[in-house]
Amino acid sequence: MTPSVLAGLVGAVLVGLGLYGLILHPHPLRKLLAFNLIGSGVFLIFGIVARRGAGAGLRFDPVPQAMVITGIVVAFAASALAVALILRLSAETSRVTLDPDARKSRNGEDAK
């Protein structure tokens, strides 16, 4: 197994784990972490692409590496925005949930 294949497989596993977390974890913070895990996997795959896609006789293709840097900046900005929203939501409601009926159903149970 060459290092490229190994790195590609690790990238695929990271994307898979992240996708699992993003869909199944109910808490937004865990979803956000899962998103970052997918991001790491995708950036790793970009790294492999940089190695394999070098067509012009260079050892590495610099274009995907430039894309990874941009991608990291974008993912960082996205995470910051999401954390800000989560913090604000927890400050306003003292609990963080995406379920629009969660507050209602809790009140409903209290009424019973």
Binding site: K31, G53, V74, L81, L89, P100
Partner: protein, 499 residues
């Protein structure tokens, strides 16, 4: 080796169209306060003029306008391109953003007592940011650049959803953001695979190089899945209704009318501009089925809503479904695919204008009555005649009654589906129109019935006039001449013309 592209005359217009809203953001942000509103309002006429100039040049030369950044042609550099659909979408975006800016002055003007208020500053800056991101999406020629534009669009749209800071809007914004993040990372993975397989991300170059290999199919599937999540196609529509219904009316109009069209536009670019040489029949059929499911499910959910804004938001879910019927109806180079293409683009435009007008009117209604419960609308039409005229005309276009843009779109879709022999597509189109008539009936019947309503606030004439003007455009689209549809074909690659 294909000839390298160079900048065409007028290519600088595309750069100006992108720079104008971006410069506006800087100019709004640095002095802050009241300057933001003035900058946004002053830049919209210029943006409209630029969009018209682009459209004029495209129409005169019958070819896309190209600008190669830094004089470097692709694959080394990045090109901006404006073809027929880009030019039309640029104009639509400029009109709706201008209308939203004028409409929003009543709510988001900085109050006299303070120098700067957070919600006003956020609104004016994010409105311009949405406009900038959409402009890049409409003229971008490089898949990675388009990814960055798509992210800009999300980051500008999410704050508009939660601008008033109520907990339910924060939850809606967070849910929207998480769906969008999934969409963008999936798109990005597709971009990586495309680059690895073909060594370029420039759209026309990719179109020449792609082959039906597993890598290309995987890349296309990942990008499509991501874009569908951002476009809110059923069944990944869950984020849309709370986000669009809870945002302020001016923001909802832009979100529903334009923002979801941004990611739809990229889906069109992907399947009709990057992959026209591939046998995409099966994919087109799947997208068509998803669209049909969206039409039916969205309309039925709209029928069950108690709040007017939620009803309009679910109607967006249904109308987005119609857009995806373009994939089976316009694929290939058959006799009918031109009709299918015109129908899809007409649906994009008619829905953008009609839905923006309806959200504006729903906002006026909610402010005037203090609620937007459909059951308590009794007699409201008598109190707010112009607002209800706007809602009625917008609804005509959504239902697809003649004469309106919505009618033209659905009529051409029916023609294309019958001509193609796949008459099954007519069923969701007709059922969607019937169901739309149902949910519109639910609004209009109580509103036009007898009853007494007390207005808490008289709506501003200017706001009513803006909403009415947009709905007039949606109706006027029904009278679009053949030249307009020919214009939409400019720059569209035909499968037979490719090597």
């Amino acid at each position: 080796m294909a000839e390298l592209e160079t900048t065409t005359p007028g290519g600088y217009l595309l750069v100006l169209a992108i720079l104008l809203p971006l410069a506006g953001i800087m100019l709004s942000f640095i002095p802050g306060g009241r300057a933001a509103e003035r900058v946004a309002l002053c830049s919209t006429p210029f943006g409209f003029a630029l969009a018209c100039a682009v459209a004029f040049l495209v129409a005169r030369t019958r070819k896309p306008i190209v600008y190669t950044i830094g004089g470097l042609p692709p694959p080394l550099g990045i090109a901006l391109r404006a073809d027929g659909i880009s030019a039309v979408m640029l104009i639509a975006a400029a009109v709706i953003v201008s209308a939203a800016a004028l409409y929003a002055r009543a709510k988001f003007a900085t109050p006299e007592s303070v120098r700067e208020s957070r919600s006003s500053l956020t609104f004016w800056i994010m409105l311009q940011a949405i406009w900038a991101a959409l402009t890049i999406i409409f003229v971008g020629g490089d898949l990675f650049n388009l990814y960055v534009a798509l992210e800009l669009l999300t980051f500008a749209a999410v704050p508009l959803v939660c601008i008033d800071g109520r907990p339910e809007t924060l939850a809606a914004a967070l849910r929207y953001l998480l769906f969008a993040l999934f969409g963008s990372i999936s798109y990005l993975l597709g971009v990586a695979l495309f680059y690895g397989a073909n060594g370029t991300l420039d759209i026309p170059l990719l179109a020449q190089r792609v082959q039906a290999t597993p890598v290309v199919w995987t890349a296309a599937a990942l990008m499509t899945a991501g874009l569908l999540a951002k476009t809110a196609l059923f069944p990944v529509h869950l984020w849309l209704p709370p986000a669009h219904a809870n945002a302020p009316a001016a923001a909802s109009a832009v979100l529903s009318g334009l923002v979801v069209k941004g990611s739809f536009f990229l889906t069109l670019r992907l399947w009709f501009y990057v992959l026209p040489a591939l046998p995409t029949d099966k994919v087109a059929t799947i997208l068509g089925w998803l669209g049909s499911a969206a039409v039916i499910a969205g309309s039925i959910l709209a029928l069950r809503q108690a709040r007017l804004k939620l009803l309009i938001a679910y109607s967006t879910v249904a109308q987005i479904g119609y857009l995806f019927l373009i994939f089976p109806l316009a694929a290939g180079s058959q006799a009918w695919s031109g009709t299918g293409w015109s129908a899809g683009l007409m649906q994009v435009l008619a829905h953008a204008f009609a839905k923006a007008a309806m959200f504006f009117s729903a906002g006026l209604l909610a402010e005037a009555l203090g609620h937007d419960q459909i059951a308590r609308l009794g007699g409201a039409a008598r109190a707010l005649p112009l607002t209800f005229l706007t809602i009625t005309l917008g609804a005509l276009s959504l239902m697809g009654l003649p004469p309106s843009g919505g009618f033209s779109a659905k009529w051409m879709m029916l023609q294309a589906s019958i001509a193609s022999g796949h008459w099954l597509w007519t069923l969701p189109i007709l059922a969607g129109s019937l169901l739309a008539a149902g949910y519109v009936y639910r609004i209009l019947v109580p509103a036009f019935s007898d009853g007494q309503v007390s207005l808490e606030l008289q709506p501003k004439r200017i706001q009513e006039a803006i909403a009415f003007a947009l709905t007039t455009i949606a109706i006027a689209l029904g009278f679009a001449p053949q030249a307009f549809f020919d214009f939409l074909e400019i720059g569209r690659p035909m499968p037979s013309a490719l090597p």
